[in-house]
Amino acid sequence: MFQNKASRWIIVSLTLVFSLLLAGLPSVANAEYGDVILNKYSDANDMAPVIYPHWFHRIRFQCKVCHSELGFKMKAGGNDVTMADIVDGQFCGMCHNGEIAWTTENCELCHSGKPGLKSGIIGTHKTLGPGIW
């Protein structure tokens, strides 16, 4: 396939161009590294999707609080979160209850995403999330 030097160089320069593009692409990626979009039910119920920021919470809580003590599964989309559960004091509602953090009445602070966002974790200028390069 790459019999001669010339075609080898074409391939190499194409590779360079593509890798530049690849390296550049994530730089226009959205949101902050580690932000998670939860949109299993929100859009379907005319609510804006939820954006959960890891960076903000990890300044205040170790991972083990949510992922061990409170039992959040460490998998985007792995928790079946509904608003009724939250108001009932589960999931986000274990803290957003007026004691540890502000209450669930502040709809817009959690439901802050653009309509139509896909559920999942968001990367940054380097990777777009696990297994997404």
């Binding site: 396939m1 959205n30 902050e32 954006i51 170790q62 992922h67 003590e69 409170l70 380097k126």
Partner: protein, 206 residues
């Protein structure tokens, strides 16, 4: 016949290597240019600017993250340093009855082909995570049992569950591949201190 097949794979592996080197080197250049800059929630493409309450009350990452020890990747914060040097004191538990488990035990992993060996430190991880976040879901608590390898990590398994999602990303090869070959003469695997009893380090499911 068999000869030409072999040279074919050699060539494509050559190209593959060139590709990896190029992607990484460009990533480093782009990286340098982006270090220390965070997208505002107003322009991050995900938050809805029409949501006035969110635009007014949500914190911009830069306000908080620029105050913490800098890094070039991920959140551009060295989160390990941030805890060790007391910039942040994230809570370890909400309820009094929760047992907070920490452990200091390094694991040296030698299946690294031409790369330097990997050192996995329990200390820095248990400052954030509980044993059961990793054992047995991502790793068996016994050296050499789980089929850890770089391909799977890049696919988001093992170390790649967190690194590439929330913790520093996989582009930072040398932070994991940190034990220079030739300088390490001890035994691979768990680095128990002299005279320590491995039983004291055992993983207890709760």
């Amino acid at each position: 016949m068999s000869n030409s097949v072999r040279s074919g794979t050699e060539k494509s592996s050559h190209l593959f290597l060139t590709l990896i080197v190029l992607v990484l080197s460009t990533a480093f250049i782009v990286d340098a240019a982006y270090a220390g800059s965070w997208l505002s929630i107003k322009g991050d493409g995900n938050h809805d600017r029409r949501n006035k309450t969110a635009m007014k009350f949500l914190q911009d990452p830069e306000d908080a993250l620029s105050q913490l020890p800098p890094d070039t990747a991920g959140n551009q914060v060295d989160w390990v340093k941030a805890i060790e040097e007391g910039y942040i004191q994230p809570r370890s538990n909400l309820y009094d009855h929760t047992e907070v488990r920490m452990m200091d035990l390094d694991i040296i992993m030698p299946e690294t082909s031409t790369m330097n060996y990997v050192m996995f430190p329990h200390q820095q991880h248990t400052a954030w995570l509980d044993c059961k976040n990793c054992h047995p879901v991502f790793f068996e608590a016994e050296v050499g049992v789980s089929p850890v390898n770089m391909g799977a990590i890049l696919e988001g398994e093992f170390c790649g569950r967190c690194h590439g999602a929330v913790s520093f990303p996989l582009t930072e090869c040398n932070r994991c591949h940190s034990i220079i070959k030739g300088t390490f003469t001890g035994q691979f695997g768990a680095q128990y201190p002299e005279g320590a009893n491995p039983e004291d380090y055992a993983y207890v499911p709760e």
